[in-house]
Structures are given as C-alpha cells and as structure tokens.
Symmetry: C2
Subunit: 110 residues, 2 copies
Amino acid sequence: MIANTPNPPYYAVIFTNELTVHTEGYEAMAEKMCEMALKEPGCLGFESVRNGLGITISYWESLEAIKSWKANTEHLEAQQQGRDIWYKNYKTRICKVERDYGFERNDDQQ
Amino acid sequence: MIANTPNPPYYAVIFTNELTVHTEGYEAMAEKMCEMALKEPGCLGFESVRNGLGITISYWESLEAIKSWKANTEHLEAQQQGRDIWYKNYKTRICKVERDYGFERNDDQQ
C-alpha cells in the first residue's frame, strides 16, 4: 500500500537489500521491526516490496526520529542478526523528501 | 540490483504505484523508459521491484536532470498512457539523499 504521508518536507529511509539463502526467521523479524517502528514517535509509514531484490522505505518526521529508531536496542540486535545471517548486501539512504505528488484513478477501471 | 550511486548529496525519485488489471504493454514500456532514462545526462541508476505494489527509485545528479527527464516528450506520452490505462494510483516523491551507508558480505555465506 502507498504510505499516506503528510505534505513535505519529511524524511525517507530507503533500505535496498538482497538476502542470503539463510532466510529462516527473517520475515517474522522484518514484520516485528515494522510494527515496532510504527509505534515510534515520528514514524509516518512504510512501503515494502520484495521480489528477489527488497526495497523497504520508511517515512519519518525528522532526522532525530530516524536516529532514535536506529539506536533502539531491539532494532540494534535485529540489525546485527541481519549482518550475521540474512543480508548478502544492503544500502541505506537517508533522504529529505522535498516535494511529492500523486494520482488516484477515479473512474471504474480498476 | 542495488544501484551503484556516488557519495551524497544526490537526488532520488521514489515512484510507488499500483496497477489496474489492464497491464498489456506496461512491462515493455517500463523497460523502455528505464533504458531511455539511463541515457539521460545526470541519471545515476535505478532500483525497481514489483510484487503487487511497485516501487521504482531512480537516482539523479540534480533537480534539473529530474525536471528535464520528466519533460521528455516520449516520457510525457508514457506518463499519459500510465494515467489512462495502467495505474490505479501512484505517488512520486522527489528527495535529496543526504547520507548513505552500506554492507557487503565478505564471507562465503551467500
């Protein structure tokens, strides 16, 4: 689902990754971290897709909120497990969303 | 594949979308647009995944390069076809990448 973010400016963390073959426990942990993050102050939403390559984007009110979530103890443990077991590689990009616009179909062609 | 972007700052266009059931011609057009964009001055790379929800992120040297690609004649026609036929909804977010970091596994555990 497309995240229902407020008017810019706000922040996005683009997390692009590929998994190793050792994926046991990964999906459950990813869901748990997403649920936890959504309860953090300043978290505005998530968009996540995997099809081989995985892209997860989380949206945040401020850089401080991003920093605080990155340093969350359970999240730190999950990040370490990710590097130990699950991720073949990843790239994290911290972005300021400067502008956005959208489109929603309003006819009956779905 | 994770895009091989230079050191920040650079720009990202996050394009999150859902398709209608009328997907004929979509994949070919999406690939053509990606190939064309990669030839544009200032385009740094793409990351794209679909699994129901589609996320395509393109990376750019400058806002001017993004604006120029958005106004490309063939791209404008593709955008119109997208709104007429293919997209149920989409959101485009123009972002400045302020910081990035990555991880690459260097043991034999793939």
